[in-house]
């Protein structure tokens, strides 16, 4: 057996324009350098409000209220041609508004780092009490709140960062240590937001799988944040912290990091555990990144566009032993970008696409849909970063042409047929192939898709330890018969026949003795 079933998936967005405005890295750094910056003033007016975010087609495709192919029918720009009806909830998850998310961050905070103003805490408690996935136990964790003076005092003393909602300070995130930069208020705010968006995704995942929190055996977390203190800066672990809040009392967990290739590597790790029989119900979870909010906002503002990078992304995928029902993730033909593979686009695409296809005895056209770097082009194009998914599809098609497996004239049709528009927020690891898993699983189950390839690529060079990038890929297919006849070796078959013969001989000798 070299396949794990993909039992469920979940996708959530946390619409947090005020966290973006204050703590997204681009405005945060600008505020430190130029507090009176004209850009910051313009950015504050470029907000895409929640009522628009829940009608913005790429967001709806992310949570499963639309399919990625639906975007092809929508006139662009999508931010000007909003859907007629809002959708907070989709098949896979939700778009949570900022006030509820700030309250949820407090629920996820176990060190009393988040302080909420008492009136705000009371208002948000009412809203969270109505949330179908937030239990009484979780709600009990929400603090009663603090006096506004206590909050402003902590901020003025430099012990905390203010939190905003509706343009007003409604709380703060306190530091965890006086001198340790790893436990500064900023780092802890980033980590708690990552954790909270991960918890929300895990709650949706458990619901979508039809399981109880206690059924989860292991969580693998794959965001791009580092949890730790001065002596172990990236010690971890988000996974177990997320599992704790979600009530997964029988789970443990660990983190996997590989920049934007983290999710695909985490899925391969998790599937390997499942296939080896080490763990049964393994949830792969990724939370969102505050620093990447409003990352390209300087260009958006310059071009008079709304600042669209206003959502933290989160996702979850539940892997289980192959059950013959759910689509499967294949482990026998993984794409791997080796150290010596080279950095040229054709070398990377060969390692991630061609080589796994060759291992599987397939060719380019045998994969109906490729999911690679699904960044929303409305965010990246105005910033000069191009249409990232399209660039990847062009490279796959070009490699097929180079290998003589596709006519050059057929490239545009191949890209259209086998690719898809980007629909994920620019949250680094979040767009890296995984947003299509839910859609692919549904389409495979419905019989409208045979096979998809999920591709993740990570910019390891950003950490200044290597000039290398990383990448990984895998195939998703329909379930095979649980007996797994194709996976049986001759030795397995021989052993099974010998078992049956021995059983038969035993029965015969019993009958002989009885007669």
């Amino acid at each position: 057996m070299s396949k794990a079933s993909v039992r469920a998936s979940a996708y959530c967005l946390c619409h947090v324009p005020e966290l973006a405005l204050w703590y997204g890295n681009t405005p945060h750094a600008e505020r430190a350098a130029h507090p009176e910056s004209e850009f910051l003033g313009q950015l504050a007016s470029a907000v895409q409000e929640y009522d628009k975010a829940v009608r913005y087609a790429p967001n709806l495709a992310y949570i499963g209220a639309l399919s990625p192919d639906d975007l092809l029918d929508r006139p662009q720009p999508w931010h000007e041609h909003l859907e007629s009806g809002p959708a907070r909830n989709g098949k896979y998850g939700e778009i949570i508004p900022e006030d509820e998310f700030l309250g949820f961050m407090d629920i996820c905070d176990v060190f009393d780092l988040i302080w909420l103003e008492a009136g705000f805490a009371a208002r948000v408690r009412e809203k969270l009490a109505a949330h179908s996935l937030i239990t009484e136990t979780m709600l009990h964790r929400l603090e009663a709140g603090h006096e506004a003076l206590d909050i402003s005092g902590a901020v003025e003393r430099g012990e905390a960062l203010p939190l905003y909602c509706g343009g007003k300070v409604i709380g703060c995130c306190r530091r965890g240590h006086e001198t340790d930069h790893n436990l500064s208020a900023y780092e802890l705010l980033v980590n708690i937001a990552c954790k909270a968006s991960g918890v929300l995704s895990l709650l949706h995942l458990i619901k979508n799988a039809g399981l109880r929190p206690e059924d989860i055996d292991f969580v693998v977390e794959c965001s791009e944040e580092a949890a730790g203190d001065v002596c172990q800066r990236g010690g971890g672990n988000f996974a177990k912290a997320i599992a704790e809040i979600a009530g997964c009392s029988n789970a443990s967990g660990c983190d996997v990091r590989a920049f934007c290739a983290g999710p695909v590597n985490a899925l391969i790790n998790a599937a390997s555990m499942v296939v080896a029989g080490a763990r049964k119900n393994v949830a792969v979870i990724g939370g969102g990144a505050i620093p990447k909010l409003y990352m390209n906002s300087r260009d958006h503002v310059k071009k008079g566009l709304p600042a669209l990078e206003n959502c933290l992304g989160g996702f979850g995928v539940l892997l289980t032993p192959e059950d013959g029902v759910h689509p499967v993730m294949r482990l026998d033909c993984l794409g791997k970008h080796n150290v010596g593979a080279g950095a040229s686009p054709q070398a990377v695409t060969s390692a991630l696409v061609l080589e796994p296809l060759q291992k599987a005895g397939l060719t380019f056209s045998d994969v109906e849909r490729y999911a690679a770097e699904l960044h929303n082009p409305e965010i990246t194009l105005p910033a000069g970063a191009g249409n990232v998914p399209e660039a990847n599809y062009k490279m796959i098609a070009a490699l097929a042409v180079m290998k003589g497996l596709l006519e050059k004239s057929a490239m545009p049709a191949f890209i259209k047929e086998h690719g898809m528009p980007g629909f994920a927020p620019t949250q680094g690891h979040i767009p890296s192939g995984v947003p299509f898993i839910g859609h692919a699983v549904d389409a495979i189950t419905a019989g409208s898709l045979k096979r998809a390839m999920i591709i993740g690529k990570g910019s390891l060079f950003l950490a200044r330890l290597t000039n290398l990038a990383d990448g990984a890929s895998f195939l998703l297919e329909g379930p095979s018969a649980v007996s797994g006849a194709a996976d049986l070796s001759k030795e397995d078959i021989k052993a099974a026949i010998l078992d049956v013969l021995a059983e038969l001989a035993g029965e015969m000798s019993k009958k002989e003795s009885a007669s």
Binding site: C260, N296, S344, P345, A347, A385, G386, A391, K457
Partner: protein
């Protein structure tokens, strides 16, 4: 002779386009000297 002969080269790569190590490899025989090479990620 290459038009880059004796020139100093500044190479800025992009992960989903052409990364700088690939540019360096392509320009190795150009006669230019790589003064700076970096790959960035804008997503």
């Amino acid at each position: 002779m290459s038009i880059l002969q004796g020139k100093k080269l500044v190479l800025l790569g992009e992960r989903d386009g052409v990364p700088s190590p690939a540019m360096e490899a392509a320009l190795a025989a150009s006669g230019g000297e790589v003064a700076f090479a970096a790959t960035e990620c804008f997503v």
